[in-house]
Symmetry: C2
Subunit: 378 residues, 2 copies
């Protein structure tokens, strides 16, 4: 039985998520927006019966059993943790800091019977599902190098807000880089042990952000990860070098490319399509085309994320639909999802890359095992 | 009047160079090979009237006024310096070390009336000539980021030799990375002040290299350059970040891509073609197609190098042909060539990247101004 859904957020992802959920048979019962006006406007547009700017109104809504949180990073932790405490299943975006991510992990551990996933849709994109499968089957031989690049137009909102602020989770590294950190760990079955990075903010002001306000979030980012011990138990990726290049000063472009190179061949996901070449082969072959699938290309939601989101919503349906209880779910269909533990790892890598950009040195990735004492400075 | 040419080397570059020289009207008078047999074999194949394995036989040959040196890096310095001392014009490949490059600079300064250029053919490739021109005209606005990538099959020779040895100038960084270091400095008008890099040798042994022998040269390399003060006086590139990714574990592939991104647009050279997009434009435009031009695609000589070599030989013809003396030349046509001073800068960057890969830290690029005391260890 499919649970009723409450959606947090009125941005572009929330806007595409609602029709995807409905397409799979979910009922979207409630919408939360930062302001009453934003909530009302999108609820009317999408025909959602209830809207509010009070988070409790959604969390305590009797018809809401699954909460999807697609809001600014600094608000995510609070709502996700509260939702779990109230007994609701949670799909959410990343948090703003490792400390927030740690608090989310603590909550998820406390309620293991509830679904708690970080909605990195790339893991569900069929091209990456196939890439992971082929890696496990040895298509590329011994994995050596992963190289990911995303180029696109500015990530800044029209008006000044969290997207402009590094400390609020804005910037290419936090917004897009984190999805790649998660994906590369998922693909290789390994985790970064050391990272080196360089962040830049080339565009500090623009037509909308001026005066005393300046953008502090990165629009160019470049980092390397040396992968070590296993993250998921497969561990084929130990010793692999990953390089990631992000550039969001490219209006009109959208490039999303992930390449894995090994001793026997290589696999390349370009956008939503997967290509491969074995060392003996005389040309690259298309291994998986774009299926079209659910959803149209939407402004501000790149196609790989949109398609991935569609597949993730399908997986959610599969997880819930055979259950008798509205809040019960099967683990199998969402086993490949990013857990809150993965979210903490990703946030730790993001912060290590930022540290490296300041220090100029390789920084170790050490995942928090205990919450830092909030009174440590007293 | 075109000078007679002596060619050093029997490798793939020497093999394509000879017909290119003849195509422009140069007479190739003499060929040097490492062994008598190698020299005889290629001289017969190409119909060169004189061959030898004694370098003096070419350098002192009365009909040779221009010497083209395309041999293993450790031998380059000795022959280039000697050729200048004998009064011959020199086009050569890079040296093996910064100390060697410094000795070549000293010789070039001592004989300023002789031509002395490092034959980095990429500078002459029409796509890069046009890219440099467009950068100067402000096509991309304020330059922010350069991103170069070269992927291809193994650079190792069939048998064990200098290509396998890091200290002899083998490896992707030294062989290919150096041409990009030179090109990026030429394009931006700036020089690297700090670099960070990572080198890997994934393939340490193969069918031909086995037993106790191991490859020490890199087959994967990844480095960043922060550009500072002007190298050529134009200085538009100060503050620019350059990233370079080299991967030579990709049999069957050849990718050669150089992208420059600025505040107003971007330019991308893919292989021998130049594309551009201004920020307002709704799609990428082809700015310069591949002209076909001289030479066919040849094994082991990537098309951008082959086409660039063709353009460089044309420039050499233009430099020499209007002169009455066989050894005189006009500076204009070869003004864009890489000088021995540029060669020293490039070698300095290459060594700084290697240091960085060992230290894990950003390393400064400090170009030698004095030859290190050879007795410093006594």
């Amino acid at each position: 039985m499919l649970p009723g859904v409450g959606v947090f957020g009125t941005g572009s992802t929330a806007r595409v998520l609602v029709p995807l959920l409905r397409g799979e048979g979910f009922e979207v019962r409630a919408l939360w927006g930062r302001s009453e006006e934003e909530a009302r406007s999108l609820a009317q547009e999408l025909g959602i019966p209830f809207h509010t700017s009070q988070s409790d109104d959604v969390l305590l809504h009797p018809d809401v059993d699954l909460v999807c949180i697609y809001i600014s990073p600094p608000l995510t932790r609070q709502i996700a943790v509260k939702a779990l405490g109230i007994g609701k299943n949670v799909v959410c975006e990343k948090a703003a800091t490792a400390v927030d991510a740690f608090k989310m992990v603590t909550a998820a551990r406390y309620y293991p019977q509830l679904l708690s996933i970080v909605g990195n849709a790339l893991r569900f994109l069929p091209a990456f599902v196939a890439m992971r499968q082929l890696l496990a089957e040895g298509y590329v031989g011994e994995l050596q190098v992963c190289d990911a690049r995303v180029y696109g137009p500015s990530l800044l909102d029209q008006s000044y807000g969290w997207t402009c602020e590094e400390l609020m989770g804005g910037g290419g590294l936090h917004t897009v880089g984190s999805t790649l950190v998660d994906l590369l760990s998922h693909l290789t079955g390994a985790r970064a042990i050391r990272v080196h990075g360089l962040l830049r903010t080339f565009v500090r002001q623009n037509g909308a952000i001026r005066g005393i306000r300046r953008v502090t979030s990165d629009d160019f980012c470049f980092f390397q990860m040396l992968m070590g011990g296993s993250g998921s138990g497969r561990g084929t990726g130990s010793g692999v070098c990953c390089t990631v290049t992000l550039n969001f000063n490219m209006p009109g472009a959208f490039v999303h490319e992930v390449m894995v190179v090994g001793s026997a061949g290589r696999l390349i996901a370009r956008g939503t399509e997967l290509y491969g070449q074995r060392n003996g082969g005389n040309r690259e072959e298309l291994l998986l085309g774009d299926s079209g699938g659910t959803g149209q290309e939407v402004k501000d939601v790149p196609l790989p994320h949109l398609r991935g989101l569609g597949s993730m919503v399908k997986a959610l349906k599969d997880a819930f639909q055979a259950q008798e209880e509205r809040r019960s779910w099967a683990r199998g269909p969402v086993a490949m999802a990013s857990t809150f533990e993965d979210g903490l790892y990703v946030q730790t890598v993001v912060e290590a890359v930022k540290r490296s950009s300041h220090s100029g040195e390789w920084e170790s990735v050490e995942v928090m095992t205990q919450e830092p004492d909030p009174n440590q400075n007293l």
